[in-house]
Amino acid sequence: VAEIIQGRGVTPGRVEGRAFVCPGGLTGWGGVDPLTGIIKDVESPFCGQSIQDVILVLPGSRGSNGWSCYFTATHLAGKGPKAMVVSRVDSSVGVALACMNIPAVVDFAPADDPCFTIPHGARVIVDGTTGTVEIIG
């Protein structure tokens, strides 16, 4: 039986994909190459990996105020994530979601924190309309 966690849907749309779970967050400015979607932050355990077409799972933003613009640029280059799942929305995440307009669910109860309930690499279905994230395997 698939596990479903409930948050607040903020951008409508339903997509399925592989969860890319970053409990320590990702930096935007200088942390992601917008032309390739490759993580460049040498302090990130995911340095060298791509965020293209993944379901990006984050606790919130991290680093410079130039966070949203790097994710937006990555999105416009066709190298961005296909959905975002965020433990707790913050202002940088809010701007990024307003710009990218990809399905997104935010603001989970602590017991359902997606950074700890979704295994990295799991297949999930994100429904930005109902605010649910279904972990299917």
Binding site: G25, R62, N65, L76, D90, A98, C99
Partner: protein, 431 residues
């Protein structure tokens, strides 16, 4: 549902023009995502103007087209021709120095394109400043004033030291706010969200600017997302330079927007007030050993030749430039070293006025204004095989963008490296 005033509704309906309408559409959408119930009036803004590298994802040399796509999120071209008349709006760093580009590895084409972006912003009413440190030129929001900024260090300084109200937002939203004069009334704009969540005891004695710079990352790297630290410790001898380094590195190492220092910052006269009477979610004690652990990852081991020495992240104030001139007087920078001092144009003028520029240039150094290495990007980093810097923020930028030897120390030792052309083991922090 976001409640709008009649003026905000009129903007949304396009009665004040298409630019303000789109800015307000975006602000409302942003507010809905946050869960904000209303907007607040913004009276101070910094915006990120220029031919910045990330804008290259749009294959166009037309600033209006790129601005519309990247900052307004619209396919139609919308001229950026006005900001809110009541908003004091300065430009953050641009992609180029005000006049120099070849020595920074940039093409004339890049410089001219950057100038076109700046000219559009100037005509719209943005005060061209070109600094990550707008407070150096009088941009100073007061307690309770709502501001937006494109610089994370300014967000946390504004909230923490001045008790002004700002969120990190982002590059795009800063433009929307500067144009519409509004931002979502959410997060740090609401008094109930400004209480501390985590109690941090600084057990280390902090003295130098470098000490505070390093400790900012120590604190930031221990904080969970969304935390508001309340810091206790011995703050004797602290000044604005130390605090802005501490807060800047704290901000870039986390997503922290507000930090209370008990007995020092305006919303933290005592611990209970800083915590708003609540129990902290966690309590940490940080030591010099924690600082050493962070430092060893930010500075290469050993010694070696240095090609570039870069100082002024955040942009140097005039007192720091005076100190550089004092340390360089009668000395010569090694002929293989590019010594860069980064600041903002009015401070550079003061350096000219006071003779510091002459001393620095006669020694072989260069003062640049309006930009910084992290903004110029790879074309600058590719010029050098080894860097020495005096800020953790700059060290992190270089680490992410370039494969180069990298040394991080205080101003005095960086200048010693500039003169000798070598970084020595003894220049390291605590050596």
């Amino acid at each position: 549902m976001v409640q709008l005033t009649s003026q905000e509704q009129a903007m949304l309906e396009g009665k004040e023009g298409r630019l303000k309408q789109v800015a307000m559409e975006n602000i409302v959408r942003y507010a809905e995502i946050l869960g904000a119930r209303e907007l607040c009036v913004v009276t101070k803004a910094t915006v990120f103007c220029g031919a910045h590298n990330y804008l290259k994802v749009i294959d166009s040399q037309d600033p209006e087209e790129v601005f519309s796509r990247m900052n307004l999120l619209r396919e139609e071209n919308i001229p950026f021709d006005a900001i809110d008349a009541d908003c004091y709006c300065q430009s953050c760093v641009s992609a180029c120095d005000l006049t120099k580009y070849r020595e920074l590895g940039q093409s004339e084409q890049t410089f001219c394109l950057n100038q076109r972006y700046l000219e559009i912003a100037r005509a719209a009413g943005v005060i061209l400043t070109g600094s990550c440190s707008p407070y150096l030129t009088g941009w100073l929001p007061v307690k309770g004033e709502h501001f937006v900024t494109t610089e994370s260090g300014v967000t946390i300084i504004g909230n923490s030291l001045w008790a002004a109200c700002g969120n990190s937002d982002g590059i795009e939203a800063a433009f929307w706010s500067a144009i519409s004069g509004r931002t979502p009334k959410w997060g740090n704009h609401l008094a109930e969200n400004r209480g501390g969540t985590h109690l941090i005891h600084l057990a280390a004695e902090l003295s130098s600017v470098l000490d505070w710079d390093i400790m900012g990352k120590v604190v930031g790297s221990r904080l969970p997302s969304g935390a508001v630290p309340v810091v206790t410790g011995n703050f004797a001898g602290v000044d604005f330079t130390r605090l802005r380094h501490f807060l800047t590195t704290l901000a870039i190492s986390s997503n922290c927007e507000l930090c209370h220092l008990v007995g020092l910052t305006p919303e933290a006269p005592d611990l209970a007030t800083a915590l708003r009477g609540r129990e902290p979610q966690a309590e940490l004690t940080l030591t010099r050993e924690d600082m050493a652990e962070v430092y060893q990852h930010m500075c290469d081991d050993g010694c070696g030749p240095v090609d570039t020495v870069s100082l002024g992240c955040p942009h140097y104030d005039i007192h720091q430039i005076q100190k550089v001139a004092s340390l360089l007087r009668g000395k010569k920078v090694h002929p293989q070293v590019h010594l860069q001092i980064w600041t903002v144009y009015p401070i550079q003028c003061m350096a000219d006025l006071n003779g510091y520029t002459q001393v620095i240039e006669e020694a072989g150094g260069h003062i640049y204004s309006g930009t910084c290495p992290g903004t110029i990007g790879e074309c600058l980093f590719e010029q050098s095989a080894s860097w020495a810097v005096d800020s953790l923020k700059q060290s992190k930028s270089i680490r992410n963008l370039a494969q180069t030897a990298l040394y991080y120390g205080d101003m005095e030792h960086c200048l010693a490296a500039a003169v000798s052309g070598r970084w020595e083991e003894g220049y390291r922090w605590q050596k």
